[in-house]
């Protein structure tokens, strides 16, 4: 038996390759289905996959050999006669073939019928044993495989190309490839919304161009893809001029444009943090509760990224109104993603920024705070039971909801206009930019 197995693994590479290809295909199919359809944990699927490979491999090797054997002897057409024949025994090729097919079927059926994994493993173990037995039986007769110890041209060139690809992989930066694609998309977007060109576009095409820009910005933010800052600024300027000049006559088109502009402003700021050299990322691990109590964290002259955990992280302000904002920011580019905030109504702000900073706050709930909106990009934010202050500065609200909030807005025209728009929306998400 050892010699038979050795023959498989050391000599006949053609059949083994076929066996591996079939095993790999079935293994990937199995693991992907178990992960995506049945939502099984990764560790369990990995164990299942290992057992499956362990079982299928000898099974498929035996199967492929048996097929070859039958082909070689030109006896495929007499399979039926073989089974019916009184000479039919296990040491004839068809015996193990039927056993393997039967056991593989049992394995697949048991997998779906049985909710208990140990039964599945038992069946797979049995399959493994019988498959090995089948290999042994089928190789009692010499299969006369061809022995070639030379590498073919295909193998040589294929190996050379593979080695070149693998050696150049560390030098190929995926983020650079992605950045090149995003730059190209931004270039096209910039030309599509040039003010002269955009003025003559029908509403539908204009809306589609806006949506494309929003998609580029949102995708790049989501996957942290950097881009050429000048190009981002160019698209932003073109979009701003187009939004001011073009009058689409349709509210949904205008809203799409505003949403694209906010996404682009957020991306421009995001990009500054991404391309800043050595910009640190502050990861908030979930820990026991996912909550952190902070007094004050001043952020000065730099770039930093605060990232909350996937399960949600919240920062609680220490209950002392005299401390001011928890994050006073000056001369910095800062991104807060998925970091919730609660000040328990103690008149403390989450962030306070100067005119020279670029701040993006996204995917968060801000509760019980006294927060000034000016000069910060707010994306997908929910303000609850908070006091909202605005005094006519640059305003970027993308899908921002105000729930049970008090508004302390300036008496200037812009502030009052914004207040009216926010109140009109009630508890619905607001998307607006001051001056547009």
């Amino acid at each position: 038996m050892i010699d038979s197995l050795r023959h498989f693994f050391w000599e006949d590479s053609q059949a083994r390759r076929l066996a591996y290809a079939i095993t790999a295909f079935l293994g990937i199919l199995h693991a992907t289905t178990r992960t995506l359809v049945f939502h099984r944990p990764e560790r369990q699927v990995a164990i299942e996959l290992f057992v499956l490979v362990l079982v299928l491999n000898p099974g498929v090797v035996a199967l492929s050999y048996l097929v070859n054997l039958l082909k070689a002897r030109r006896k495929l057409f007499v399979i039926h006669a073989y089974i019916k024949s009184p000479r039919f025994t296990l040491n004839q090729p068809i015996g193990p073939l039927i056993i393997i097919i039967f056991l593989l079927l049992i394995y697949k059926l048991s997998h779906f019928i049985s909710a208990h994994i140990h039964i599945t493993f038992l069946v797979m173990g049995l399959t493994l044993v019988v498959s090995l037995f089948a290999i042994f039986l089928s190789f009692r007769k010499d299969t006369a495989s061809s022995r070639t110890y030379r590498l073919s041209q295909k193998e040589r060139y294929g190996g050379l190309v593979a080695c070149l690809i693998l050696l150049s992989a560390p030098r190929l930066s995926i983020s650079k490839v992605q950045a090149a694609i995003v730059n190209q998309r931004l270039e096209r977007a910039a030309s599509s919304i040039e003010p002269d060109k955009a003025a003559g576009l029908p509403s539908n095409q204009l809306k589609s161009a806006y949506q494309k820009i929003a998609s580029i910005a949102n995708t790049s933010i989501e996957y942290k893809i950097p881009a050429n800052s000048d190009l981002v600024e160019k698209v932003k300027n073109n979009l701003e001029v187009t939004l001011k000049a073009a009058n689409p006559g349709r509210e949904d088109v205008r809203r799409s444009g505003v949403a694209a502009f906010i996404a682009l402003v957020a991306y421009a700021r995001f990009n500054n943090v991404l391309i800043a050299v050595n910009a640190p990322t502050v990861l908030l691990p979930h820990g026991e509760t996912g909550n952190y109590m902070l007094s004050q964290v001043p952020l000065k002259d730099g770039a930093v990224w605060w990232q909350g955990s996937a399960q949600g992280s919240a920062i609680f302000a220490i209950l002392d109104p005299s401390l001011g904002a928890v994050f006073p920011i000056s001369h910095s580019s800062v991104v807060f993603n998925a970091v919730n905030f609660n000040a328990f109504g103690m008149r403390r702000a989450f962030v306070e920024t100067d005119d020279e900073s670029q701040v993006v706050i996204m995917n968060a709930t801000i509760e019980g705070a006294t927060q000034k909106l000016d000069a910060i990009v707010w994306l997908n934010i929910k303000f609850k039971n908070s006091q909202i202050i605005y005094s006519g500065g640059p305003l970027y609200l993308g899908d921002v909801t105000f729930e049970n909030c008090q508004f302390q807005f300036g008496s200037d025209t812009e502030s009052q206009k914004v207040l009216i728009q926010i109140k009109e929306m009630g508890n619905q998400p607001v998307t607006l930019v001051s001056g547009l």
């Binding site: 000599e11 591996y20 992960t35 590498l151 193998e155 690809i165």
Partner: protein, 93 residues
Amino acid sequence: MKPPPKPSFRQKLWPPIEPVVLILLRDIILFFIVLAALLVGFAGIAGLKAFGMPEERLQILETIHFWAYTTVAMLFLLDMVLKTILEIVRKRP
């Protein structure tokens, strides 16, 4: 009459191991080719991200890609382990 020249160290070492090395080399080359194909697939998925492909579809591709890596690694390692075991336990002529 001159005695035949003594075989060099290389001449003594290489002939017995040549078939084994070539068989292993063939498997390693095949593994490298599959690995390179998976690497190209990885770059392709990263490119699709930049092109803005929907997250749900990307998740499917990423899952397939991850399990393809795992399966190929398992197959290669299993093959190597079995080869080694069989070489150790085989009967020497």
